[in-house]
Symmetry: C2
């Protein structure tokens, strides 16, 4: 299927959004994006991914509380590298995670620990998912909680599944530029590492 | 950008191809797909991925030899689970990896071990890459070598980068159906794990 660089346009357009409007979005669009994700390849086609769509306000609030408790400890730690402190400070990123209750839906993605290349396959599928959300004009963020144990308990996730990511989805309540990307020249080699391709 | 379910069509259409024609493909299409991949998000925007396009016949041969040596040991091991033996046997998958020399290009993807969520970010970007290759009508396979040490040495990959995957790309020399996928109903929950969404 030759199309007109649509995938590049979607990839360029997507931004990580941390502020969400409480406006509802079409659940059908969320289901669409998950339908795309489950078409991804996986190690021995084991399809290790499972998805929980969280819409319930009470469950979202519990998740936020559990995450913020862990994040408060994480951000309070004196072990964080300097560059990380600077990076988060410049962007106003703190232990507060309001998007966990403000976004109309959270997509929680988990992976089966017993499947081969489970993490790799699941994150590849998350790549599919994000492009599909962008195609439907839905904003998203990949949030990886500092402590996933409590969230797994709230969501009743079985012990043989790992919580990989929480993806709030909805209408953005902020405008932001895309974080700059390295150029192809910076990341690409030809035949061997020491040989720049461009 | 609302489009007409193009991402779903690409995801549905893509197959993992193990037999390649030696026909050359347009290097511009490969660069296009990598341009898409580097638009992906990453932990703290560290962009931990690097790409090596391998076209040189001699280097491809060396990679194949190193991989097949390791695969021969892997497939000869008596520790492989039964389901895996069955799965590979049914598909004619053995220690032989002809696609490593037959495909016109190999895209080798590595990740910086020192970046946060390096593996997760890189595999998410690989998801972007595969959809972009499909958009250009290029066949691909995600091959994860049993022993990446020797391949890293051949490609002069520095010690702080992990080899994540080798992706042969080219024109397919086989026709195959897509491996079946679970339905949305099988993988989706609403609000909590025990609550089927559909």
């Amino acid at each position: 299927m030759k199309t007109n660089n649509i995938v590049l346009n979607l990839a360029r357009k997507r931004r990580s959004i941390r502020k969400y409007s409480k406006e509802p979005i079409d659940l059908g669009d969320v289901l669409y994006a998950i339908s795309v994700a489950i078409q991804a390849l996986s190690g021995a086609n084991r399809q290790p991914w499972r998805f929980i769509i969280v819409a319930d306000e009470d469950i979202k609030r519990k998740i936020r509380e559990a995450c913020e408790k862990a994040e408060k400890e994480f951000y309070g730690s004196n072990k964080l590298p300097k560059w990380f402190r600077k990076w988060t400070k410049e962007r106003g990123i703190t232990w507060k995670k309001p998007f966990l209750t403000e976004a109309p839906y959270l997509i929680v993605v988990v992976s089966n620990k017993n499947a081969p290349y489970s993490k790799e396959s699941t994150w590849l599928a998350i790549g599919y998912l994000l492009l599909a959300l962008e195609e439907k004009g839905i904003a998203s963020l990949t949030y990886t909680p500092s402590d996933s144990y409590e969230v797994s308990r709230i969501l009743k996730i079985p012990k043989d599944y790992s919580l990989e990511v929480i993806i709030p989805v909805g209408e953005p309540a902020e405008k932001k530029d895309k974080e700059p990307r390295l150029s192809l020249r910076d990341v690409l080699f030809y035949n061997q590492w020491d040989n720049k391709a461009l």
